[in-house]
Symmetry: C2
Subunit: 459 residues, 2 copies
Amino acid sequence: MGLSPATLRSLEKIVGKKYLTTQKEELLCHSYDATGQSFLPDAVIFPETREEVANIFKLASQKKIPIIPRGSGSGMTGGAIPVQGGVVLVTSRMNRIIEIDEENFIARVEPGVVVSKIHSACEARGLFYPPDPASSSVCTIGGNVGECAGGPRAVKYGVTRDYVLGLTAVIPSGEIIKTGVSTAKGVAGYDLTRLIVGSEGTLAVVTEVILKLLPKPRAVKTLAVFFDSMEKAAKTVSSVMKQAIIPRCVEYMDEASINLVREFLSFELPKTTRALLILELDGHEDQVEKEAEQIKGFCHRAGAIDLLVAADQAEAQKLWEARKALSPVLYKIAPNKINEDIVVPISKISEMVEITGNIQKESGLTVVSFGHAGDGNIHCNIMYDKKDKDQAKRAEKAVDDLFRATLELGGTITGEHGVGITKMKYLPSEIGSIELEIMKEIKKVFDPDSILNPGKIFS
Amino acid sequence: MGLSPATLRSLEKIVGKKYLTTQKEELLCHSYDATGQSFLPDAVIFPETREEVANIFKLASQKKIPIIPRGSGSGMTGGAIPVQGGVVLVTSRMNRIIEIDEENFIARVEPGVVVSKIHSACEARGLFYPPDPASSSVCTIGGNVGECAGGPRAVKYGVTRDYVLGLTAVIPSGEIIKTGVSTAKGVAGYDLTRLIVGSEGTLAVVTEVILKLLPKPRAVKTLAVFFDSMEKAAKTVSSVMKQAIIPRCVEYMDEASINLVREFLSFELPKTTRALLILELDGHEDQVEKEAEQIKGFCHRAGAIDLLVAADQAEAQKLWEARKALSPVLYKIAPNKINEDIVVPISKISEMVEITGNIQKESGLTVVSFGHAGDGNIHCNIMYDKKDKDQAKRAEKAVDDLFRATLELGGTITGEHGVGITKMKYLPSEIGSIELEIMKEIKKVFDPDSILNPGKIFS
């Protein structure tokens, strides 16, 4: 389609010459996300203020130009990809931590702030922002709000939604809205805040986020536990939770995951290990110590092969290596992966493990599973070679089978990655047609001309 | 307006003769809520299933009959009052706890279940449903979902919104929708669940709620602390929270509240008491003990007059008496009260106390304040005699002043009671016109003919 020179000049006027680009390299850099899919935008714009964002939208709504909000582009389902061209709006210049209010346990941040910076800024003040997606060293809080990011600590602390008290945002008409509150409670009017959280950048572009903070936990304790079967690992998880112990992380890795990372680890894995749990406790020092002892007991009774307790943070990092080394080495198996973040009830994890085993057998493709056992959120990676048409077909069938099984077990097709473009065709298998119609009508309320991140979530 | 005999016959056909009434006494009984305001409905209906609810709506949308959902009618802002007549739909027959799933930490309940029944059913199984509004022995979970009920435990555990994973609901067209998930995480599509939570029964009638549960805390410890000034009490609250201690309740009572209940207590209050804090800790036994010791330290350093620690649950109940005796005895001061549930940032509580003092002086009316100090949610009760026109005028001005000050301090006009009819005229002072317009458009998506609980929230 392309933008007219006049339109480009108008956009340039809003942000300044330096912050609008149509250079091929820049367009390429902003054409893709972690899905690996790529669509070229017509331009990329870097606004600094909400007023600039508002003016961009005023022009865009008048000229019907698609605007695609983008944080760091680390999304897993194509949320930031300009599938219909248009202007990619990058939040990198709106990157201020405006305020950390220690007395009231809130932070006010701009959307472009990298999540790990919020973590460190809070922790330096004895505060704590719990959501910690695996990409926290690169992803932005704006992206986290858009997708309702989760991560390993959700089992104890919940997801992004649970920490967003209020928003300032620009709707496609170019009007600036404020939603929610900056207090712990607030129920005046409909909950526009949580409607925007997780809407994958299709309802509004967030320009300020008010986050709820907690006091920083006094102590953290990390354990790695090795099992010779996934069943034993799963049983341990529910034993732990039933004892009123909620670890802040309960991560697991299956046999395929373990085999992939074995050689990268600085500690030795018992040879018969077929399942690994990483548990992290936090809270009061004594409580954490006692709970760790209890967990050791459960693990031994469940028949764990071995158990490592990190003596300090450095050792804890080593244990986490196993989990963090995983994503990059997946490509050793095959050049492409389909990464699905299904969720099943905790009691169905063993069953799901069996099902993914069957899918692996039937498809002839390697399926690597790891993830957040504590909340049933499993990352299933179906490894294949895209160029091999037969493999691609089998991979697609594997996803179909995976989602069908997930829904049959009472689960959901996405726990934290969103729908974007990659899960669009599967959404109707989870969400009924009336519910989808309501969502589409809500989209129209915010974006009647469909200029904000078009072609996402709904087909 | 009235309903035609044919319409009444059709309604009767849906639920059976026994469960539709137009008897004057029944209409009166279902005309009011805790605001004391009263509007007569044309009929009251008691459906038992979601299919019956769906059929009621199919008829109502065809005939444009207002339907007003009602739990126990304990709401504080008129949410269940049939201001435009029509049919009050009572959920009392949809009162089953369908399932408590111990392995997956969820409960599935019908809207008419009384909240305290959910508490006891969960606790009997070693589980815990945290939200505990003061009316929990009478209010229903459907009402709690409609208003997004809070209560004292919100300081640690959050509000109803944080525990609703999914809903089954009937929209005004008579269609049945399902929203959300029955797993800990889930982000497929827009968050219709939290949009319906807190919508005050204006978007859909909930027929099933999927609740997230926690393991039951192992130990609970209750403390009452007496201060000779509100400032000292407020300072103690922030000292406690800063030490990574989050009590599950931090309730306070001001001097006027204390004077009201003094004679009803089974323990003696020091004579110079001008502020009272009730703190409740829960968690691991050792942790609770240690935290209680730390809190004692803070209280003494802040200059507390005295401190009582409940040795057991019976003693804890006694301490809570002070707080629970309060609502009924308020009417000793004056025949009417305006009960506002404002929220201010925790750091502004002392300032708010001063402001309510000034409002009291200026209005010449008694203002009794108590509430949830831990989250800044203060219940301000302006006591007056409705029949005295001058008093009524001064009470109205007092509310204006209270809300203006609340918003100036960065707070909200309602933390947990909702807008209903009593705060309708104040809503635009908190919510901007564009945001209100969006809310009204969302209302139209669900309820184009405005038959579901009309005349609420928006003017």
